[in-house]
């Protein structure tokens, strides 16, 4: 019995017990591969037998960062956030970084997070999804050297991943006009509910109007409609418009969920989609593919992956310049137009 008195076992004891070097033990404790199965097993065995627990303090010392990246997200009720999150998780998959999610549910909550996370959360990096960052918070982040990437919120002094909502609106207008439509409608969501998120429907609408205007087409204000970000509410709000005898023949919805509501209601009213009514969404959620909705793809997963990429590259080398990536948009034509 070569037990070291009654002191807690160290990695050396484990190594000796398993007949390997401490490096190899460290490898099996951490995710690293490059350890053969039999060896790994022997080591696991020794760990269990000795009741070895790595001392957190020693680890902290030896390790560079915390291996933690945090994501601040409006409470993920919306599919768009989920898909972005998926991209983030995917990007982090082959890295040693942990993914910790902080759900934001009010603007105070957000600002509280932004004030305290850099100090107490022990993060190497932070990604914010569609959240407003004011000057004060931004300074705090920079002051504490917490690398940050903003998705879907512009800020010259922080890394950002954005899309061009105005251009997206224009694409929609041009696309529908090219299809020969003459009368249009728009449905967007009322984002006033949440002051801390931004859902830039206004810009999408402006782009849409701009494209139409340039072709001498017109979007009547009575065909502009706002609804909550939700299928059912969109169904209700669009109903009076679709019931008019000369309803628009093409509707651009600022989000896929609302586009789906429009399609549902149209069908329920006996309108054929796309023959009687073309519907174009925005986002390209998974669900758009499932139900054959034409839409403008904004590469949600990609935005997450990209944010991770930017974050990790800056963590690795803080001297890299800030990046402001604008993701391309693309019309995905399916069966609703």
């Amino acid at each position: 019995m070569s037990q070291k008195d009654n002191r807690p076992p160290t990695i050396y004891d484990v190594a000796k017990a398993a007949g390997v070097s401490i490096s190899t033990v460290s490898r099996v404790i951490n995710a690293s591969s490059h350890v053969s199965d039999p060896t790994r097993e022997r080591i696991q065995d020794a760990i269990d037998r000795l009741g070895f627990v790595p001392k957190a303090e020693a680890r902290a010392r030896a390790m560079k960062g915390f291996s933690r990246i945090g994501v601040l997200t409006p409470f993920f009720t919306a599919p768009a956030f989920v898909q972005r999150l998926r991209g983030i998780a995917e990007g982090l998959l082959s890295t040693p970084y942990e993914l910790t999610i902080f759900a934001v549910e009010s603007i105070e909550h957000l600002n509280h997070y932004l004030a305290t996370l850099p100090l107490t959360a022990h993060l190497d990096g932070l990604i914010l999804l569609s959240l407003k960052v004011n000057d004060q918070s931004a300074n705090k982040l920079k002051q504490h050297d917490l690398e940050t990437v903003l998705i879907e919120f512009p800020r010259p002094d922080l890394n950002t991943v954005e899309i061009d909502d105005l251009a997206g609106g224009e694409m929609a207008g041009n696309y529908l006009a090219d299809k020969g439509h003459q009368s249009f409608g728009f449905i967007g969501d009322t984002s006033e509910l949440r002051e801390y998120t931004i859902l830039p429907i206004t810009q999408r609408l402006q782009g849409f109007q701009k494209a139409l205007r340039e072709r001498n087409l017109y979007l009547p204000s009575e065909f502009i409609c706002k609804a909550e970000y939700d299928v059912q509410n969109a169904e209700e709000k669009i109903e009076p418009i679709l019931k008019q005898k000369n309803h628009p023949t093409a509707i651009f919805a600022a989000t896929d969920l609302q586009a789906l509501g429009v399609v549902n209601k149209a069908r329920a009213l006996g309108l054929r989609v796309p023959e009687d009514l073309a519907v174009l969404g925005f986002d390209d959620l998974d669900i758009a593919g499932y139900v054959g909705l034409s839409t403008i793809r904004q590469s949600l997963e990609e935005s997450g992956r990209l944010a991770v990429e930017i974050l990790l590259s800056r963590i690795k080398d803080p001297d890299r310049p800030l990046r402001h990536v604008r993701l391309p948009l693309k019309i995905i034509e399916r069966q609703s137009t």
Copy 2:
């Protein structure tokens, strides 16, 4: 400028700034005597100025009462996991607990997590989503006193939240038979792809068959169909069945995504849903509501909330007995049946 870039200051930085050796700084930090007053003051000054916090201490503090709960999930590609996660996040919202997500992508990966997380992750609790836990891993969890809740995997020695898939299948059978159907089909997913997850379609199928048998109805094996967990693949796989002249009039899909594929394909083939073909799904994903799919609700969010509740109550009082909750299922009738 002798600034150490952006890295947090170390004891060396303080020593240099105060013009002393690190030993002396260490003495000051640890309140040891044998330091002259002027020197002590100079050092304190430097400490304050640099905002020095001993790293190990910081780490230890961070990990002390961790307030961290981890979720192991098959890489959240499937909406069902997302909804469970949503329930978990919701349950954690008003608590001081952080939510850290560990995405599992292979069985080795899972077992590695199970072997090392109890040691190094500093978690107060762990929730596993639809993941297989073997005896060895379970022992490890218990041995390290890591409170654990399993969702959708049965184990008498750990807390569990489950549903009764067999009963769910029976509900489907009874429901469709009550509607007067005489000929049935089934589509389920091939979960062989991922040995680490469990998608208990077999039981759903068995329950379905059982209910039908008890009414002297029959599910022909040529109408049992397996597809990947995916809308498009379901569309493809169900096509030959729907094309037969006496195709079934009711199809039970073991998951909503596949149900949706069936509905899509049926419509594409000119069949009316539900007049010519009734389709019943399983899960009640958000999307089921969006597209009017009848389904069997398994309260995905609720499973997450419940898991959190169980976990927190056991963390608070480890003497509470293990819990094995079985969530009720409910038929949600919409437009596809």
